[in-house]
């Protein structure tokens, strides 16, 4: 009786991408942002507003979620792993310039999209959404505490809040769409681990 050794399939080699700090900051921020977007739709889009009514309650939930939005990130700062990732997101190297140029030319070849732990698109997105969130927070506070700010400010703040909300909605849809298109990236944020093969393909300059 000869037993043929089964074709040896090595366990898929995995690398650590995110620790608990990064994963929980992302998770809670995403949940709060989701609440903001859904309640905003209830307040803003007439068909949804008719469906829900209860305007005062919806406003209160929207305000609380908005106020809480920066909290997960601030709490996450106690983790040096999270701070290190913020550093990766902040710093741009020569390869990021190459990546951005390729993105502008719609050049999708891997070789023209060099990336370290985060690619240049992810870095720009992270910085922009952080800034936009703070602008939403500031204008939201002006609209909320109407008697603290001078004449005119509230109308102006409402204007910026409305248009930036629309912009964030579109950008966020792009962010979620790209995540849907890349299961391994989502896996990274869910479990903290990604396959080595994926890491070398998508983030060739990253040394995990």
């Amino acid at each position: 009786m000869t037993l043929r050794t089964e074709a040896h399939t090595p366990p898929v080699s995995e690398v650590r991408r995110f620790g608990p700090a990064q994963r929980w900051v992302h998770r809670t921020t995403a949940a709060l942002m989701g609440v903001c977007v859904v309640t905003a739709a209830f307040l803003y889009i007439p068909q949804f507003a008719e469906l829900v009514g209860r305007r005062e309650l919806v406003v209160r939930v929207h305000e609380c979620a908005g106020l809480a939005l920066p909290v997960p990130l601030l709490v996450g700062l106690v983790s040096r792993w999270f701070r290190a990732d913020l550093g990766h997101l902040n710093r741009f190297g020569p390869h990021d310039r190459i990546w951005l140029r390729a993105a502008l030319r719609r050049d999708k070849r891997r070789s023209s999209r060099p990336a370290a732990k985060f690619n240049a698109g992810q870095k720009i997105y992270a910085a922009w959404i952080a800034g936009a969130t703070l602008v939403m927070l500031g204008t939201g506070l002006i609209m909320w505490f109407t008697h603290l700010t001078p004449l005119m400010w509230r109308t102006s703040a409402t204007f910026v809040h409305d248009w930036l909300a629309l912009t964030i909605g579109i950008v966020l849809a792009g962010h979620i769409g790209m995540a849907i298109g890349d299961p391994e990236a989502r896996n990274g944020l869910r479990t903290g681990r990604v396959s080595r093969e994926w890491a070398e393909r998508e983030h060739p300059l990253w040394r995990p």
Binding site: A84, L89, W128, V135, L151
Partner: protein, 250 residues
């Protein structure tokens, strides 16, 4: 514990080359643009209103209506659901400090002399609908018919959504541009716009124009209404209240 660390053993990996802090610049730039937006908002808003108002007129999809300042009315309700009323079950009561309390049906109201006003509608949250026709019975006519007593000083309005309330001083209520409105934009007022009968207080912010009007009670003093309990001005003259300087609505 090392296995819990996201980047293998040892210390967190320092950014391989320090690189330029572009992220910080993008973040600060976004905040700066936001602040600039607030400062230049009045001019931007005027330009956009003109452009979007024109575009909305030619837009068969109605999508421009969803854009900020896209024109048109927005639906605000403070109640979770609002019953529908029609000619058979709608009633408007006039009571309080009056000699002859009375209940009107929709047909009763339609039989009274109607007044038509065409003015802008201005919401306290910023949107404005220019040149909107409202038609209905002058509130002063209903008050006169009921015989307001000399001790009265104010009028309180209640609504069949069961939640909303509003109020005016007697002098404000007697103005010729305050209607118990039955028609808006030359159509009977639909449910979503507060039909079949809503209040229309032309010179004030639109939250004074209570939707789904079902009760008019003459009282001694003004009692703040629903939004006024939540910080809005009771005397809501357009352009002179709520910290706003909108143009008058005439």
């Amino acid at each position: 514990m090392n296995s819990e660390q996201p980047e293998g053993p040892g210390k967190p990996q320092p950014p391989s080359d320090r690189g330029t802090p572009v992220g910080r610049r993008v973040l600060l730039g976004t905040i700066g643009l936001g602040a600039l937006g607030v400062v230049t908002a009045p001019a931007l808003q005027r330009a956009l209103e003109g452009f979007l108002g024109a575009a909305a007129g030619k837009d068969p999809t109605g999508l421009t209506g969803l854009l900020p300042n896209g024109g048109g009315f927005r639906y605000y309700s403070v109640a979770s659901s609002v019953p529908h009323k029609n000619a058979t079950n709608y009633r408007l009561t006039v009571d309080g400090l009056v000699d002859r309390p009375k209940t009107y049906t929709l047909d009763d109201l339609r039989a009274l002399p109607q007044t038509r006003l065409v003015k802008d509608v201005q919401c306290v949250t910023g949107w404005r609908v220019p040149g909107t026709p409202f038609e209905g019975v002058r509130l002063s006519r209903l008050l006169d018919a009921a015989g307001v007593r000399s001790t009265a000083g104010a009028v309180r309005f209640t609504c069949f959504d069961g939640t909303y309330t509003e109020s005016l001083t007697l002098d404000q209520a007697r103005r010729a541009d305050v209607l118990v409105a039955l028609r808006m934009q030359d159509k009977n007022i639909g449910h979503d716009h507060g039909g079949p009968v809503r209040l229309y207080v032309a010179p004030m912010y639109f939250y004074k124009s209570a939707k789904w009007l079902s009760g008019i009670t003459v009282t001694e003093d003004v009692k703040p209404g629903y939004w006024e309990d939540r910080g809005y001005d009771v005397d809501a003259w357009v352009g002179h209240s709520n910290g706003r300087d909108d143009d008058p609505t005439n």
